[in-house]
């Protein structure tokens, strides 16, 4: 860990694939990708999707992502980087990528779960279904 802010990125459209290079010498490096599913609930039924339209409220979205990343870095002795899409992302494409590096795997898995849970509770990001 260091005092620098974790890298946070909001990008229009789908996120580009990444290489396999490890960001550090930490013992556990975990990359979680959120991918747009082919359907979403619509009332009680499941309905086919064409895409999801992501909305952010800047600068609060980036500010809250950075705050959450710094909190998780301190809590789990981790290094994080965060990428999230804004705008339209088609089914099957990546809209969210979290990379976590920790000394051991248990902390990386716990950090990833905590970050995603808290992001869905606290970070002003919305998704609007674009039905097929």
């Amino acid at each position: 860990m260091n005092g620098a802010s974790p890298p946070i990125s909001l990008s229009p459209g789908p996120l580009a694939p990444i290489g396999s290079a490890s960001p550090s010498t930490y013992g556990a490096v975990l990359t979680f990708e959120g991918v747009v599913r082919p359907s979403e609930p619509d009332g009680a039924a499941s309905r086919p999707l064409a895409a999801l339209l992501y909305e952010a409220y800047e600068p609060m979205t980036t500010q809250e992502l950075a705050r959450l990343a710094k909190t998780c870095e301190a809590e789990f002795e981790a290094i994080l980087s965060v990428e999230h899409s804004v705008g339209e992302v088609p089914v099957g494409a990546c809209s969210f990528r979290l990379r976590v590096a920790t000394p051991h795997r248990a902390a990386a898995l716990a950090c990833c779960a905590a970050f995603v849970d808290r992001m869905k509770r606290d970070v002003p990001l919305w998704k609007i279904p674009v039905w097929a």
């Binding site: 959120g34 409220y57 600068p59 609060m60 992001m119 869905k120 606290d122 002003p124 990001l125 919305w126």
Partner: protein
């Protein structure tokens, strides 16, 4: 009419909306009339009165003032940027 008889000063405040709540309201902002030094709780009540489609989601929403979450008792400055943050769903 004396000063003590005069009606309380009011002001108009625009609250920004996003995501599903903007679709429900059919607008990306709602303007409400509030007393001077209104609190966040009064903004929430004002939104409920001004925009019926938002009512079911208001209790699960938070209010941001100048891009920070604030408590219900917080007074809101006249020139603040106010946003309704509800139903977040990133990832």
């Amino acid at each position: 009419m004396s000063a003590t008889d005069s009606p309380a000063a009011t002001r108009r405040l625009t609250v920004r909306l996003f995501g599903p709540q903007a679709r429900l309201a059919g607008a990306d902002a709602v303007t409400i009339t509030l007393p001077e030094n209104a609190t966040v709780a009064e903004i929430r009540s004002g939104l409920s009165e001004a925009c019926e489609p938002l009512r079911p989601s208001l209790s699960g929403s938070r209010i941001a003032v100048n891009h920070e979450y604030v408590s219900e008792s917080e007074p809101v400055a006249f020139d603040a940027e106010v946003a309704l943050i509800g139903l977040v769903s990133g990832g």
